[in-house]
């Protein structure tokens, strides 16, 4: 056994570094996977040995997925986890490693990783040809000079141009496209920004790729409540769980991945009896100054811009009491009142979501068979949901003004605080066709 074989054998017992693409209907499953001590979800494909492709991915994302695969170092393998969707047309569909409905996902991923390290599974060749998207016309030893160095897109990358900055100077500005698999954003979210150093000059979020009608999403309690009455307890437990999942993701964004795992564990095992645990968590986060340090004054949206948009915790954090539950007799019986804050910034959204998570658990515990929904509109965890009407679509128009002038870290915090979900747009868009099929 050579040194390399010995190292590979030793490495086979390591925590498997996985870059996970959580497509449609897979975010919860992938988040739970991260709780296993045998798997580590890494932020960069350069750090991964396993590419996990879970759930549905629209065809628009297949080419970026291939590029992501090719950005992984050897040895590498792909594990396909369809979760009921069709992976047949994906560029990685030839992968022999697949998690079936009866497989235990952590075991399947670690088995694939060990097979890769031991040589039982060969490393995967690149999917895309290693050629430049645009011909390089540089002349110097580092590609400098020549036509196309300014104003062009050599290698498919826009070059920095001069532009005005906030101090009245003209500095280099660089257009960038972040996503669709940036680890701090949900899969499918593409942020087009123009940056001057660490400063966002312009930013806009592209339309959801999930809205093209290709997808038959799984039906969660909120979508089901659009067309039929659903128990309040079920809806509120799902809302609390979503708020805690959001908190877990936001903690990772703020550099606290270990604390995020604690919150995620709570989200997975959540029951209506956990309201006091959620309140204790909220107190602890305030004690550690997490909302204040990361979000005070960041991503503030004025209430007049939000009026009528019904963006759930985002609206309520700005002092608007817009909540479809307030007009629902089932909730009136339970003594529901919307929770509001004043500041309208990322810190206020932390406060509102954590308070709402505890409130939802208390409502779920008090509910005695009350049902809600069936009227075509429901208060989802991100705001009002209706057929072809999702909070993601309504938020998009606010984002350019919100992002302009923020440091990159604040821009990511601001976007994370909005809990954008491109998948939700596809979920409500697909609803009528599912009804027709029924």
């Amino acid at each position: 056994m050579g040194v390399r074989d010995a190292l590979a054998h030793l490495a086979g017992g390591a925590v498997a570094p996985v870059f996970a693409v959580a497509g449609g209907g897979a975010r919860e499953a992938v988040a739970e996977l991260a709780l296993s001590p045998s798997v580590e979800l890494v932020d960069s494909p350069a750090a991964a040995s396993v590419l996990l492709v879970a759930g549905f991915l629209p065809s628009d994302l297949h080419t970026p997925l291939a590029a992501l695969h090719d950005a992984m170092p050897d040895p590498r393998c792909t594990v396909s986890w369809p979760l009921g969707s069709d992976h047949g047309s994906m560029p990685l569909s030839s992968s022999r490693l697949r998690i079936g409905p009866d497989d235990e996902p952590v075991q399947a991923v670690t088995r694939a990783y060990r097979a890769l390290l031991s040589g039982v599974v060969a490393t995967e060749p690149p999917i895309q040809p290693d050629v430049d998207p645009n011909p390089w016309r540089g002349v110097g030893p580092y590609g400098q000079g020549g036509r196309g160095m300014t104003g062009g897109t050599p290698y498919g990358r826009p070059m920095a141009e001069l532009g005005p900055d906030r101090d009245g100077l003209r500095l280099d500005v660089l257009p960038l496209s972040i996503g669709p698999f940036f680890p701090r954003f949900p899969a499918g979210l593409i942020l087009d920004v123009v940056m001057a150093g660490d400063l966002v000059i312009e930013g806009r979020v592209a339309d959801s790729p999930f809205g093209g009608g290709e997808w038959r999403p799984p039906v969660g309690p909120f979508v089901r409540a659009l067309s039929e009455p659903v128990p309040v307890a079920e809806i509120e437990l799902a809302r609390a769980r979503q708020h805690l999942r959001w908190a877990s993701d936001a903690l990772i964004t703020q550099g606290l991945p270990a604390f995020a795992m604690r919150v995620r564990r709570l989200a997975v095992t959540l029951t209506p009896g956990h309201a006091s645990s959620v309140r204790a968590l909220s107190r602890r986060l305030r004690l550690l100054r997490v909302p204040q340090w990361s979000g005070a004054g960041v991503g503030r949206i004025a209430p007049e811009l939000l009026t009528g948009l019904a963006l759930g915790p985002v609206s309520r954090a700005a002092g608007l009491g817009e909540d479809a539950r307030a007009a629902d007799p089932a909730y009136a019986e339970l003594g529901f009142e919307p929770i509001v804050a004043r500041d309208g910034d990322a810190a206020a959204r932390w406060d509102v979501r954590l308070a709402e998570a505890a409130q939802s658990l208390e409502l779920a515990a008090r509910a005695r068979g009350q049902r809600t929904g069936g009227v075509g509109i429901v208060e989802g965890p991100r705001g009002r949901l209706g057929p072809d009407d999702s909070p993601f679509q309504r938020l998009q128009s606010l984002l350019p003004d919100l992002l302009a002038g923020l440091e990159w870290g604040d821009a990511v915090t601001a976007l994370a605080s909005l809990d954008l979900d491109p998948e939700e747009a596809g979920t409500v868009a697909a609803r009528p066709s599912r009804a027709e099929a029924a």
Binding site: L10, D198, P257, R262, R289
Partner: protein, 309 residues
Amino acid sequence: MDYASPPIALIAVGLAMAAGVYLIAVLDRSIAVLVGAGRWTWRGAIVGPIRSAALLLVQRRRTTERPDSPGWTLAPALLTGLAAVALAMVPIGPDMAAADPSTGFVVFSAAIVFVMIAVFLHGWSPNSALAMHGAYRFGAQALSFQIPFLLAMLATALPAESLSIVDIVDAQEPLWNVVRQPLGLPLYLVVGVAVSFWGPLNLPDASDLAGGTSVEDSGVARLLWKSARAAMLVAVAAMGAAGFLGGWWGPWLPGPVWMVIKAVALLTLLLVAGHLLPRVRIQRFVVIAWVILIPLALVNIFVSGALLL
């Protein structure tokens, strides 16, 4: 004091760095498990770091489009070298130092200043937008922490009336600097975390940049960079123990044991803080450094100087 012979000094510093880096890996995993309410296992905490290192040794290095390859290769080596120089200046006993030049404080400070070059080079070289942003950030961070860091350190030289680290530790026999200069250690630790870009001040390699300057690293390059960062944290903690916690002074136990205990205690404190305190916004850190830390560091120096008059 005589210098140790170069081979022995080299081996001693190398071993100290390797032990420190491994200790950080073990402690960091253990703290992460405790904070995350996971299940701590010997295998995960003790053997896990070795297995993860083995994986990075097996993984092939990948490259990017038109990187600055020499710079990319050099950056982790430079940071490792700077950590080694900084650590070599820290004595663990009155007669146990890899090197104790009369200007040990200056050499340590010079190593800290050059960290900015290593991190900027590491972010610049891959020709990648997120890595470059990490490098920009560290430029702002380093320009802000260097003055308070040096001022906090400089105050420890006043009671010793010497720039030799051994003299600085010797001068703490009657009273440790942590008591004599109560502002010194907190200031040193805050800026020390910034120097080694760890925890709440890991801004160049932050999660909002998907890893920042190390986003494109794989294989051995990733292992070297992670090790170099950890080695720098070891150097910062060891110097903190020597400069503020009385170094080898302590009852009952041999001096070097006290030195190790104090360095590990500071290391643990920094690692725990890394898992509990959120990332500080760069804008806020720059303001805090210039408006609060530098004036406090100056007050610390003036008060220390006045007490000696």
